[in-house]
Subunit: 240 residues, 2 copies
Amino acid sequence: MSEIENIKLVIGEQPLFHECRGELIDRLAARGRIIKATKGQVFFIHSEEALNFYVITKGWVKLFRETLDGTQAVVDILPAGHMFGETSIFENEEYPYSAEATEQVEVLSLPISILKDEINEHPEFARSMLKTMARYRSQQDKEIEHRTLQNASQRIGCFMLKLAEQNSNGEVVINLPYDKSLVASRLGMQPETFSRALSKLKSATGMKVRGGTIILENFENLTAYCCVACTSHFPCKEIA
Amino acid sequence: MSEIENIKLVIGEQPLFHECRGELIDRLAARGRIIKATKGQVFFIHSEEALNFYVITKGWVKLFRETLDGTQAVVDILPAGHMFGETSIFENEEYPYSAEATEQVEVLSLPISILKDEINEHPEFARSMLKTMARYRSQQDKEIEHRTLQNASQRIGCFMLKLAEQNSNGEVVINLPYDKSLVASRLGMQPETFSRALSKLKSATGMKVRGGTIILENFENLTAYCCVACTSHFPCKEIA
DNA sequence: CGAGGGTTTGAAGTGCATCAAATAGTGTGG
DNA sequence: CCACACTATTTGATGCACTTCAAACCCTCG
């Protein structure tokens, strides 16, 4: 498959571009570039001039900001299928955070100017962007809430619930998508705290932990533990 | 002035409606209602069906969510000129939080269906909503960051910086817009913590506190203290 | 003046961070 | 396939920041 065809495919899978005509897809694809990155590679840094936005096609990308003394705050860690850097159109053309690969990552880079034109010219596109943004916003709202109402173990449990799948035995299986210390930073805690909080969670819910795989008899053990300190009702995995 | 005229005036002042033609303003005004509320009065509660959105014309409105046991997380506290409940169009027609008056408050209530129509029919409107939402989002992002990187005193200082005005003597004057305990909840801390953190801030920066009024020799004392633990550079009061 | 909220202060407890060190896990080259 | 090097994770000990509960204080307003 040619690179262009590949790019078209990737773009076509984006919910944001679902309502777009083929003509736009062609235009985007013509100017897109696939970038392969290895762990730690930086795509752009905070407040740099924003020329491109990115669509993740493989791996996980960490968004973060850091203070002068190097302490960093993780904004989010995004999986394949998500975009980043696209909000720069609203932020004086500057990236609002830094972005780096957490492992072997593949992204599609697209010029941000196209986005802007598209918003102005195609109302359906603006609408679909509005929807995407609203969804993300309500997720971030919840994030703030969790940081104030939940303790470390509950945040971990809540994070797991969003990843949980029920297997054929009726057991709940959870696979952490990346390193524990990365999960820790995503949840705003130290790796040491994560480790200790996880063992507390383990003894509270009877879950079995082996590396990044967690097995649990049923959801209830976990929801009873976590969702007490949350204002939403389980099931709440409206990530889509 | 008639109520309708009054309502039109209020709507006209909303950045969100700046680009809208008079015809829409008329339509909105015809269906708007002014509501006066006293302290503690609830406009709507979390997950209730969303029929109206609101524009604050006087006073402050607290947005919050609460867990089953009554613990509450303050999402935001909004001043006159801001809207709330408007994001429900993207949240299955449910309010994503509860809203109550923090004091004597006046709001304009408008049917949410109009918003939805407007987005679909007028691209400029969708764009302006997109911009509003993006701005708010970057604010909330910063909020998350502050909760992880700043301690209580720094959060208070940062909150003050956004309210600071320089007076004719070159002094910096800050007036807390509402009760200290409300500020505390807005910043995600207990009133007691606020009180103690404020005195620490006082001795660290040499500020003078009398009730809700704070006077400071210059910005630098405060920025040096707070902005160390932030990834943005002062001045950062891009609230608009 | 007195009632009631808001605010401050004190004492004690909890949770998370930090620093340091041990252990488990992973991938590499021999 | 093993040993080594390196990283991720766990564990321990200690300290600090914030919370909690309790009580005093202050301020305002009827």
